[in-house]
Symmetry: C2
Subunit: 198 residues, 2 copies
């Protein structure tokens, strides 16, 4: 994952040549994801995003047009999931657990936890859920062999999401205190059990 | 779980004799939990709670004093967890998975998913997290034998929380379509694996 995707909002406008602009865009997207993982969308202000990203609100408007367009852009799971799924199937459970933990420990959120904040009603929630299905669970399902691949993918992803909730939202003291690889060893099989051909 | 706990806010005032009052209180708590499982606290208005519960906002104030007191009351996991943990240890994984699914299918949420909506900052988030640890994960840990009971309890609860996220928030089409006992059979071992003495 090289971050390129997150720096080009929908490919709608040509990327500025200056590296500063790319860095600012990436910061804005990162800040938006951080806030989306912690607050209802309606609570997130342009100013809050700007403050967290260390830029001005007008710069956000310049790059992304408006708040809704920025939010829609951050609702895409595609590039995050590239890295999440980047392992051979027989080690994918452990790899995904490690990815979630590394991301939680480093960034305070993980590649898929945003789905927990999808608004139940309204178009934006539907977009986020549709993206999640197409880009996360159904994409994982295409990797699996054997019957009920769609269900097994959902259950594997469920285990990952729960780990993110306990680590990042409930802030479980035990899971945060122990060595990351200890959790990978203990929890990886719970995920892998859904991935292996029954 | 007889619902008594949820009908007496903090025991602060004597319970009205009339059954209607108890029913209204229970409806108010149920509506508040429903909304808390779907929205940031700051987004939840007294009117929204009243509308959902089918009562008037003044009635809520009469029973619970103010919105914050009502929210604090609903932040208690104790009574919900009684039923969640009500099974012998060797079948607890399947029982808890079944509890989450039954509750999701029937109520649109489950006994523990509210923790996913804990605000990261501020006193109310801290209360919810502290309650969650004491009343859910640490309470489960006291049931376990062998080393690292606290960590294993957090990981078992993680798997349950993730199932609630996929079912209730991501609305996974596969997990919602299949027979509940099929999911219990597939996912129960992922939870039980953390509970069994290593």
């Amino acid at each position: 994952m090289d971050g390129t995707d997150t720096a080009h909002p929908g490919g709608a406008r040509p990327a500025p040549a200056r590296r500063d602009a790319e860095a600012s865009k990436a910061e804005i997207v990162r800040a938006t994801r951080y806030l989306l993982a912690r607050h209802a969308q309606s609570d997130i202000t342009l100013k809050a995003i700007a403050d967290r990203a260390g830029v001005s609100p007008p710069l956000i408007l310049k790059y992304f047009g408006n708040k809704d367009a920025l939010l829609a852009h951050t609702m895409d799971f595609e590039s995050d999931v590239d890295a999440l799924l980047d392992a051979p199937l027989q080690d994918l459970g452990r790899h995904m657990v490690r990815s979630v933990l590394t991301s939680q420990a480093g960034n305070g959120t993980d590649p898929i936890l945003r789905i927990a904040f999808a608004p139940l009603h309204g178009a934006q929630g539907e977009i986020l859920r549709a993206n999640f299905r197409a880009q996360v669970t159904e994409r994982l399902a295409t990797r699996l062999t054997g019957p009920d691949a769609g269900l097994r993918a959902e259950l594997a992803v469920a285990a990952l999401l729960g780990l993110g909730v306990v680590y990042g939202l409930a802030r479980g003291p035990h899971v945060r205190a122990v060595d990351l690889e200890d959790v990978v060893t203990r929890y990886g099989p719970a995920v892998q059990g859904q991935l292996d051909t029954p």
